[in-house]
Amino acid sequence: MFLKKVYTTWPALFWGILIFIGAQAFFMYKGIQTIPFFIYSMFSTPHPVQDSVEVVLIKTENGYISPFNFSNREAEMLLNNVPYYSLLKQQGSDITLPTVESRFKNRLSPPLYQRVLQALVNDSAAVNRYPQWWAKYFTSVQAVNRGTVQLVKSYMLYQPALHKSPKDSVIFSVQLNP
């Protein structure tokens, strides 16, 4: 048996494995991924068939840019953080804040708590600088580097046949290389 072999040849690794298994079980029970204890539960809950799907699109003066013009990594950097930004703008405070408060408020000294807060929560200055950062990254990954670009929220409608909703709501608009 593998564990028996590990115990006889490298006891430190044996105990390391046991601790790792215990920690993995704990974080799976809590449902909180804490790397390196990965939780591979993606696509495991039922996904209902929908009439429409919300999407974030990049709109330039010459029309929409397909996110598939970018590589996966570039598209992740350009589009995955936009809903997070949108939520921060809507709520006026970081969605991580309640978790930070529940874990640390009144348990740490006020200066230490402030330091933790600054390290984990985006302040309004960071949120306000986000569109400029986005424009910088966008111009670094593709050819469009002049004009105005909008990030818009829209819907893809599956009925009667797949088409894009004519209505866009602007998340932000940014001037490239002003």
């Binding site: 809950t45 068939v49 995955n80 953080n81 985006n122």
Partner: protein, 273 residues
């Protein structure tokens, strides 16, 4: 001759770190090394305790927000990886490479606002931290069990949370993952296949269940190595299917295949040559 089968560490180090180097080149070509991210202003530690610890220590912010620091990090990581290819029997640069790729992962996820499951390039270099043959063998087997566990647990989660039992789960997933793609690539053969599967809920759910079974088959790896080539084929098909139907690239994840390769046969072949 050793009493138990051993893994050819030097050959494996050269292959795995060359593979990792190519992943880093892919990151560079796709503007996703730290110095290419244009100093992101927002962070997303999520609820991951390890991310929290590193963010409280200010490490991702330090690496992400200063160009020269990020550039130095990228250079050190890439050079360390190359040294691991050229000189496999050392520890210092292996440690630097392992720590480097984990930090790169955390910084990228924090800036991108999502914690990704593409982790093959994080796991495969770890066993090379051991120099002694026997210890390396044990760590490599641990890596193999870890990969079996990750995919096996993914299968169990799909049953536990109800995706497997649902009658239309895959159609819903295809809708979400292809909403934009179908608009921009409406006339391709691939789009026709995806649209057909969306409408044929029974067939698409059959594929989802097949994928779940492939996940669960990885649990066989806990009991025998006899079927490793089949597990490897299953993993490859699983990821090709994900790529074709859901557009999930698996270049970063591809190193997860390494524990199932026939290393001893490859070493024999190289030594005969």
């Amino acid at each position: 001759m050793p009493a138990t089968p051993y893994y050819p560490r030097v050959l494996m180090a050269r292959v795995v770190f060359t593979w990792l180097f190519l992943v880093l080149v892919y990151f560079f070509a796709n503007n996703s090394l730290l110095s290419q991210l244009q100093q992101p202003v927002m962070i997303y530690p999520g609820s991951d305790n390890s991310f929290w610890l590193l963010h409280i220590l200010g490490i991702p912010q330090f690496l992400l927000q200063q160009y020269w620091v990020a550039l130095a990090f990228d250079i050190v990581l890439t050079v360390s990886c190359i040294i691991c290819i050229v000189v496999p029997e050392q520890k210092i640069f292996t440690w630097m490479t392992v720590i480097g790729v984990w930090l790169l992962y955390i910084c990228f996820c924090s800036a991108a606002g999502k914690h990704y499951a593409q982790i093959g390039y994080l796991l495969a270099p770890i066993p090379f931290l051991a120099l002694r043959q026997q210890r390396f063998d044990l760590l490599w087997q641990c890596l193999r069990y870890w990969v079996c566990f990750l995919y096996g647990s993914a299968g169990l989660y799909k049953i536990y949370y109800g995706g497997f039992g649902s009658g239309h789960d895959m159609s819903g997933i295809l809708q979400v993952m292809n909403a934009e793609w179908l608009v921009y690539h409406a006339d391709t053969v691939q789009a026709s296949v995806i649209r057909y599967l969306m409408n044929q809920q029974g067939l698409s759910q059959g594929l989802f269940r097949l994928a779940t079974i492939v996940d669960l088959c990885m649990l066989v790896g806990f009991f025998t190595k006899k079927f490793d080539r089949w597990l490897l084929a299953g993993l490859l098909l699983f990821h090709l299917g994900n790529y074709f139907l859901l557009h999930i690239s698996f270049i970063e994840q591809s190193l997860i295949f390494a524990p199932f390769l026939p290393w001893q046969r490859m070493a024999d072949y190289v030594s005969v040559k």
